[in-house]
Symmetry: C2
């Protein structure tokens, strides 16, 4: 007898899980498609050389490698020569490979979404799995800030449709970060280290960050100046915060609210431009960010945007805008991404501008579950929790055919119909229906069949009603 | 610069491919759900010990094994100790594992479908891939022939909805095969070999099969008797064939056609029962098959059923009914399956009755592509071939915001809208739309914006028309 659990860090998804996952994935797909993003899928398995060297030392450690097969397997050479393939580690490297491989078939501007699992041999922990889904959306081929504006607008639409109302979209710019470091005088080769430390400002406070910076070899004076600068920018006073305190904004018209939010965002950004007027990088960054804000046309979207100069994100491949979506009751981000004009060209000769977001499907599912959002969706009838709308019972061996026939009639009317698979006591059949969440049962005994009627039992109230056979589909649908 | 092709035998699916695949998968899901089948998903990666020994020698050869990681990797012991995990090889073993692992959470009768990729290190060939999808549907927990009848009915519904009209569902029974071999006197230990040979009767004819049987050690006399018996059963004369020859049936009423098909099927089966009256196995098999036919309630379904005593199917785990779906222009089967009452219990203590079908998604896609069925679906507007319903052009930098705003208005009316990502010459924007199959473009210059109007260009005819902004969504939808 073998072990029956799934492999370590992997999960089986039973029907109730899949329904929730598919509900969320369905909304993500629908919104992305409404923006003209097209679906792409790539194989789970890639050539090892396609993935090697793309994810740094950590990626090399965590990649699942596949053993060579048959004669190709040569253990005499040690670890070398054991593996030739590996499991997909993210969706960005496969995208870059696809863009290079099909450059003559893909449109000049390629907007794609991809929702597939990736595999990482991480130590499993609460909310961390070895197989998990990524939902990536990327727009390839344009440097226009319209791309950022549409990505932000689409992700807002998705979160709103899922029922989130309290998310914030933090935006920043790689060049704003570089600019600040330059202005303060941090040498280029310390930039990455400095950003990693500054990213913790929210969590560990000024003193912790200062110690961290000094530990990385940055002088106390530069460190203090850096922290001051970040705090100064974050605190840039805005019209909005004054209004907000007085709780006035919600009473205004949508148009006015839109204007107030927009002016306020542009005000903060102009303030930052003033403070850091010495840096060309900063000027470019602020122009980009103001450009994005100017292209956000909806109050619902603009009211969620927060410029955040301390937002760094770990990955070093970003070249422009950086974005992250957060909710108050979850420590990590629900979505993150930005512009990376260097990465997509890695398999080709030319640099290709690109910008994208990755929605953390597992995290969204986790927060929705914790908040009881799925229960609400089920209660509202927007998410099905049952395997069928109705159970057709089987009275005896002779009437089985009539039960099957009725089931097909109901199915052709759009109902999901389960037929009890054997003739058995009705009580046992009702109990089974109840155990799998079905609320309606249909009874067809000889007398009902003879009169061309059908008896319907409400399994929650035990009420029974008899209807003409041709009415029955509509009666069940109207429940 | 790395290689940009996918790994050997694996495929990238570009948007046009995905749309076709999703169309077919969508119909399969919808029909299975209308029968009360529930979705299940299992991890791509299983513990090696879960899969080992389940697929015979071939499976062991073709399984993709995953290299152990970090300290667990010990190459000093040779091949042993190199791998601890493997990629999913089919969907049946994971189902058996799930049924054992969640026996307290799953319903007594568990009807599940599972549509996921599996991986086999087969030699790639035309139509044979190393990553391919399986669509399995199985009903666990009941020995009733209602299960078979519903599986047949569901697969017919799927094929009809996909547009197939010329498929046949061949049915046979494991015990009918055993019974025939017993009656003829073939010793038990030759049964499997004999069935493998008899399965070729269609392809290589009597003489070829006889030589094959003798090559396996079966005597000439037994071999001849076997072939005679199979031919005799296949030729059992039916009312149907007489009517069919005269091309009369199609003129009859649906009820009468149903009756004729059913009587004819039962007639052939009764004939076989008579011929093989000496075998208890045969009597059981015929009872099961007649039971199934009696439970098929639709003319559309019953007219596709063909009892075929030579149908063996390779897999040795079947215990009862065997089923296969074929179309004339494809050599293999589009769907196959049967009853396997021993297999699901392999991870537990108890034998659990089960019956299922596997739809060959890749084969169905292949036949539909070859027959031009997708082109027809696209022409009829039932399958979208374009990335968006409309392209909103961008006149200049100042009007970008208005273009984005209009796009969102159209999206909230249910349209899929692509916005050209940059201000550029209109001709270039039209050309781009055309290159990706979009047939309608929208123009918003300063004058249109000032008058709250929108210009619509038909990119196929170059006709332009101007509408009030609030009408535009409906106008585009009605095209």
């Amino acid at each position: 007898m073998s072990k029956t659990q799934p492999a370590r860090g992997m999960r089986d998804f039973l029907p109730a899980d899949i329904r929730k996952r598919n509900y969320v994935i369905g909304i993500i797909k629908k919104v992305y498609e409404s923006y003209g993003f097209e679906p792409l899928e790539t194989p789970a398995v890639e050539n090892l050389e396609t993935l090697t060297g793309k994810y740094g030392e950590e990626g090399n450690q965590l990649m699942f490698r596949i053993l060579k097969r048959g004669e190709k397997l040569d253990i005499s050479q040690g670890e070398k020569g054991l593996a030739d393939l590996a499991l997909r580690y993210d969706l960005t490297v496969p995208l870059a490979r696809v863009v290079a491989n099909y450059k003559n078939e893909l449109p000049r501007f390629f907007k794609r979404y991809q929702i597939q699992p990736v595999w990482r041999a991480d130590r499993p922990a609460k909310g961390r799995f070895r197989e998990f889904y990524q939902c990536d959306v990327d727009a390839i081929g344009s440097s226009s800030m319209m791309v950022e504006a549409e990505l932000i607008s689409a992700v807002c639409e998705i979160l709103q449709r899922l029922g989130f109302t309290d998310y914030k979209i933090r935006i920043n710019h790689r060049k704003l970060l570089t600019g600040i470091l330059d202005v303060v005088g941090v040498p280029k080769n310390y930039h990455i280290d400095a950003l990693v430390e500054l990213d913790k400002l929210d969590k560990i406070g000024s003193e912790g960050v200062l110690n961290g910076l000094m530990g990385k070899g940055i002088s106390e004076k530069e460190g203090e100046a850096l922290i001051f600068m970040f705090k100064r920018l974050s605190m840039a006073p805005t019209m909005l915060s004054i209004f907000d305190e007085q709780n006035k904004i919600s009473e205004f018209s949508e148009d006015l609210r839109y204007k107030i939010h927009k002016d306020s965002l542009i005000g903060s950004l102009e303030k930052a431009r003033e403070i850091l007027s010495g840096s060309k990088d900063v000027q470019e960054a602020i122009s980009d960010l103001i450009g994005i804000v100017n292209l956000i046309t909806s109050e619902k979207v603009i009211s969620t945007i927060q410029p955040d100069p301390s937002l760094a994100r770990g990955l070093s491949y970003y070249t422009g805008t950086i974005m992250e979506v957060n909710v108050p009751d979850f420590a990590g981000s629900l979505t993150g991404g930005g512009r990376y004009d260097g990465l997509i060209g890695m398999f080709g000769k030319d640099a290709i501008p690109a910008c994208g977001l990755s929605i953390g499907l597992e995290r969204i599912l986790y927060v929705m579950e914790e908040r009881g959002m799925f229960d609400k969706l089920i209660a509202e009838g927007r998410l099905k929790a049952d395997s069928a709308d109705v159970l057709v019972t089987v009275w005896d061996e002779k009437t089985v055919g009539e039960s099957l026939k009725l089931a097909n009639e109901l199915r052709s009317n759009g109902l999901r119909v389960l037929v009890y698979p054997e003739a058995d006591k009705l009580g046992k059949q009702f109990k089974y229906a109840d155990s799998i969440g079905i609320k309606t049962a249909i009874i067809m005994r000889d007398e009902e069949i003879a009169e061309n009627k059908v008896k319907v039992k409400n399994l929650q109230t035990s009420e029974e009603e008899t209807f003409a056979r041709e009415e029955i589909a509509e009666k069940i649908k109207s429940r």
